[in-house]
């Protein structure tokens, strides 16, 4: 039997060798810290501080704005300087809390932590919710919501997304190697919420060292197992990962819980460990800085709110002038026009490329070659759907299952005519999804 995987997908150059062997380095911010109120899917958080307030590291500065929302904590001690709009990594100006760092990093006194084995499920859940944990792989879905399915007894698998299928990013890889215990502990915490669940670590087979350290770390954990996945993009896409590890297939109208699954990525599980076992809120994450324009690619433990330009400086700055700078991976990340934007809960990496390969490409007519159909993990017809999208034919778009797209970008990647398939489909999907909700 071959390795576990899904049908379709692509094999882009992974570029991981640039930062793979660089151990995580903790770096400290110099300038002001900027916290967007919306670092997650759902309602923005509501500020609980005013300009001029002195705050401590680990103090709540904004509370959840609803059930699907998450609080935000100060990652430094200092003075609230402003509540004003700033650019976030996706290029929108959004309301933010700005804190002037006093450099003392005075931390709040965390309440005495109760031993984990004495905590009730409700206590575990409220700790996760209070800590402001959200899905840190990129989507930013509040973890509390994910861990509150209608029927918790029907959850059979907790899947740790250890695929890290995006090229260049090595943050999860380093976490798996350096924080194996915390990762396994995070899994133990999540498993404590679901009595009938088994924990699966789904790791791509290009990370053999992670597989062996994880197997060693869970040898006394009867409820956990490590599964080796084929190295292929988008192996870490939620639906594809669920299929590869459990053989269950869900579509756009279903949640992982409908297939008895909950999926959390590596960084999220480590943050859950910090929240529940150590009682510390979500304040930091590991960020990969890489790409051919970066002087010393590496992996850094960064406090939320830190300016991305400072993070790049920590990696030696740019050795060549980059044409393109990306927040996240090259397949699904956002290109940024400026680095004057903060690290947020979902910033997995900063990539700088000397050459923007996409800018030179001129889209030409579709030749109907079917490569997009071949690679599409959702098994739809991207070229056709992009045509519908460009003609704004929402009816045909929906009928031919355009909503099933996961926007992984594999179609645009392989298209020999260099069409912006994902972009067209993505724009139409937003409109069609909004209409579906009506």
């Amino acid at each position: 039997m071959g390795l576990l995987t899904f049908k379709g997908g692509i094999h882009p150059d992974d570029g991981k060798s640039l930062a793979k062997d660089q151990a995580i380095v903790e770096i400290m911010p110099k300038g002001d810290l900027v916290y967007p109120l919306s670092q997650h899917i759902g309602a923005p958080a509501k500020p609980t501080v005013a300009v001029g307030d002195y705050v401590l590291k680990g103090q709540k500065i904004a509370e959840a704005g609803g059930f699907v929302s998450a609080p935000i904590y100060a990652s430094v001690s200092g003075t609230v300087k402003a509540l004003e709009p700033h650019f976030n990594p996706t290029g929108s100006k959004v309301p933010c809390i700005v804190i002037e760092n006093d450099g003392a990093y005075t931390e709040v006194e965390y309440p005495e932590s109760k031993p984990f084995n004495l905590m009730t499920k409700d206590e575990v859940m409220s700790r996760i919710a209070d800590a402001g944990v959200v899905g840190m792989g990129g989507a930013g879905f509040p973890t509390r919501v994910k861990l509150s399915p209608k029927e918790p007894d029907k959850i059979e698998y907790i899947i740790a997304n250890c695929a890290e299928c995006e090229p260049y990013i090595t943050a999860d890889y380093r976490r798996m190697l350096e924080n194996t215990k915390e990762l396994v502990s995070g899994m133990r915490v999540v498993l404590s919420l679901f009595d009938n669940a088994k924990g699966i670590f789904g790791v791509e087979d290009n990370k053999k060292d992670c597989i062996s350290v994880l197997e060693e770390a869970i040898k006394d954990e009867p409820r956990m197992s490590v599964k080796t996945l084929q190295t292929k993009y988008p192996q870490g896409a939620e639906r594809q990962l669920i299929f590869a590890t459990t053989g269950r297939a869900i579509n756009s109208t279903m949640l992982p819980a409908d297939a008895g699954c909950v999926v959390d990525n590596v960084e999220t599980l480590v943050t859950i460990h910090n929240a529940v076992i150590k009682g510390r809120p979500s304040m930091e994450r590991v960020v990969t800085v890489s790409g051919d324009a970066v002087a010393n690619p590496g992996n850094f433990k960064v406090l939320f709110g830190m300016n991305q330009a400072e993070v790049v400086e920590a990696a030696g700055g740019f050795k060549t002038q980059p044409q393109k700078v990306i927040s996240g991976g090259p397949m699904m990340g956002f290109s940024m026009f400026t680095l004057d934007t903060p690290i947020t809960k979902t910033s997995s990496s900063i990539l700088g490329f000397t050459e923007d390969v996409v800018a030179k490409l001129k889209p030409s007519a579709c030749i109907n070659c079917g490569r997009c159909v071949e690679v599409c993990p959702s098994r739809i017809i991207p070229s056709r759907l992009a045509d519908f999208a460009e003609r704004h034919d929402e009816d045909s778009f929906t009928k031919q299952n355009g909503l099933e797209c996961v926007e992984c970008g594999s179609c645009s990647y392989v298209c020999p005519a260099k069409r912006q398939l994902k972009q067209s489909i993505g724009s139409m999907r937003k409109i069609a999804l909004a209409n579906r909700k009506k």
Binding site: G333, T338, I367, P416
Partner: protein
């Protein structure tokens, strides 16, 4: 710090394959058959190939220039069309007919319908059929080694014996590029290895055709008869190079199977029960017309659909 980094929608990396290198690979794959045609039929074949291919490219250039469109001759698709048409012409054709067909292929079949990717029929084959209807005599006149003679398939239809070894090698009468199965297969294997085509369409086409003539050919399982049918009448050229044309074949995987079956049955039907000995060209352009219908009924089931919810 510079504030002018490029912005674009993801993905920010792309595969190196482009439409023009795909077309270039198809052109390269056609070269063995082209060179064999020139070797086999001599100067007239060479002149026909050069004139027809050059006219196809020129027609595309002139049309796009006049219509103020982007010039797309760099994508090699006109080269492929011209060359494919030339390979489907008898070597003895008057030198103006091939170019006329090339103009028809590029202007009428391809450009008037919107250019690359928009034509609903294979331009080279549509032009061949246009020439076949307009100049039936010249288009079905074959000379080999100075002797006017029937193509092997016509002989087969007339009940005569044929030499299948000659048909494999290609030392028979026929159109410029269709005679040598070996030369065609060299190109086809190249395309398969480069991932330009896969076995779905040509495989189903050939298998279906074999089944069809075994049942209806009246010879039963007669290896000699089946081989002669497979090697003759441009079936190999059609199956590997023209049925696999991306633009005019279904994009869905199941659709490609259905399309292959249609091709096999139609070719068999035309050959066994039709007026002429061959039938590949008509089978392909007829099946081209069925493609939208085939795609409609073979829409793939998306991932996760039909699940519990």
């Amino acid at each position: 710090m510079s504030e002018n980094y490029n912005i674009s929608s993801s993905p920010h990396v792309r595969d190196k394959v482009t439409s023009s290198n795909i077309m270039l690979m198809v052109t390269i794959a056609l070269l063995p058959a082209t060179f064999f045609g020139i070797y086999n039929f001599g100067m007239p074949a060479l002149i026909n190939i050069v004139l027809t291919t050059a006219t196809a490219v020129l027609a595309e250039f002139v049309y796009e220039k006049l219509m103020h469109k982007d010039i797309t001759i760099g994508d090699f698709s006109a080269v492929v069309t011209g060359l494919l048409l030339a390979l489907n012409l008898p070597p003895t054709l008057p030198y103006w007919m091939g170019p006329l067909g090339a103009v028809f292929a590029i202007i009428v079949v391809k450009q008037l319908f919107g250019g690359l990717g928009q034509n609903f029929m294979n331009p080279a084959l549509a032009a061949r059929c246009f020439l076949l209807i307009s100049f039936t005599g010249k288009m079905t006149y074959f000379v080999y080694d100075g002797v006017t003679g029937a193509t092997p398939l016509a002989s087969l239809k007339a009940g005569e014996a044929v030499n299948t070894m000659d048909m494999l090698l290609g030392t028979t009468a026929g159109t410029i590029g269709e005679t040598s199965v070996i030369a065609i297969m060299v190109g086809a294997i190249f395309l398969l290895l480069m991932g330009v085509i896969d076995l779905r369409i040509p495989g189903t086409y050939i298998v279906t055709f074999v089944v069809f003539i075994t049942i209806f050919g009246g010879h039963g399982i007669d290896a000699q008869y089946i081989t002669a049918h497979l090697c003759g009448g441009g079936l190999m050229l059609g199956a590997w190079f023209m049925a696999t044309d991306y633009v005019t074949s279904p994009i869905t995987k199941k659709g490609q199977i259905v399309y292959g079956i249609c091709l096999g049955c139609l070719t068999g039907l035309f050959r066994l029960f039709g007026g002429s000995a061959e039938g590949v060209s008509y089978a392909i352009i007829f099946s081209n017309l069925l493609v939208p219908l085939i795609e409609r009924v073979t829409l793939p089931k998306p991932f996760g659909k039909g699940g519990e919810k």
